[in-house]
């Protein structure tokens, strides 16, 4: 039953990805101002949204780890696995944002990069979570998870700053399309393809996140068993 549910979810996700691609390329009309290049929005914005969501999951996992580490060892490990999975998959999506953004910017603005508030805070967010992953990969000792959890919490503080940056400051990056000032928004014929792609990328992201979580749980179980064997043989 579990295998069937997973298979069904994978099939639905793949169908959504194909449908989202079809909507983005063949259904959404050309933009009157930007022409074809605006189609990057169907990958760029959903990737940013999913990255924010996963960094929030990493935040919740980090807080959970710090809360449970003294009394509930198993819950602490589960929280830590979610924190790591959220951070790592979030970095993948944030990397997509930082690559597709400049490609779009080169055609729309004539430059690959500028140090405006939105771009800079996004780069800082990416750097913080890359540091988080490097810490987890290369540091050793019993305090690594605790240090990583603290870093994960500080990293997540940048997410609302990134989100609000083009509301608080004047930026090269466009003003918010959704939830922005009066007159902002998207033509109706473009909204449906956009929402399909949001759904598709969310489904894809959750699939990868769940897989990353299970890999980390398996890794924790292997490490715990190895430690137990070492204790018994000593």
């Amino acid at each position: 039953m579990k295998k069937f549910a997973i298979g069904l979810y994978v099939a639905v996700t793949l169908a959504l990805m194909v449908w989202g691609f079809y909507q983005a390329i063949y259904v959404a009309p050309e933009d009157a101002m930007q022409g074809e290049i605006y189609r990057i929005i169907f990958y760029h914005v959903p990737s940013a949204s999913v990255a924010f969501l996963f960094f929030a999951i990493s935040l919740a996992g980090s807080i959970g780890f710090l809360s449970f580490r003294r009394g509930h060892a198993e819950w602490a490990q589960i929280s830590d696995a979610w924190a790591l999975a959220g951070a790592e998959v979030g970095v993948v999506f944030c990397t997509v944002v930082l690559i597709t953004g400049p490609i779009w910017g080169r055609r729309a603005w004539g430059i690959w990069w500028t140090w405006d508030a939105r771009l800079t805070t996004t780069l800082v967010l990416w750097l913080i979570y890359v540091s988080y992953l490097l810490l987890r990969r290369f540091a050793a000792g019993p305090q690594v998870q605790t240090l990583a959890a603290a870093l994960g919490i500080f990293g997540a503080l940048d997410v609302p700053i990134v989100y609000m940056s083009n509301r608080w400051w004047r930026t090269q990056h466009p003003a918010p399309v959704f939830g922005g000032s009066e007159g902002s928004g998207m033509a109706k014929v473009m909204v449906h393809p956009f929402l399909w792609n949001m759904l598709a990328w969310l489904a894809w992201g959750l699939l990868i996140l769940a897989l990353r979580y299970h890999v980390e749980r398996q890794h924790q179980q292997n490490a715990a068993a190895e430690a137990q064997e070492a204790l018994e043989s000593a």
Binding site: I37, Y43, R212, V215, H219, Q221, N222
Partner: protein
């Protein structure tokens, strides 16, 4: 065809290809990592017997 439109099309294609390369590359790496963890668990179980 307008040269600007051709360039736009190439940029969109590049953005889509890079996105999928990153996502599928990460998925492949994750698959390898999962297989390695599963094998390590199976080896340990085998040794325990």
């Amino acid at each position: 065809m307008d040269p600007a439109a051709i360039l736009d099309h190439q940029f969109v294609t590049a953005a889509y290809i890079i996105t999928w390369t990153l996502q599928l590359g990460y998925l492949a790496w994750l698959g390898l990592k999962w297989r390695a963890e599963k094998r390590a668990a199976a080896r340990r179980t085998h040794h325990a017997r």
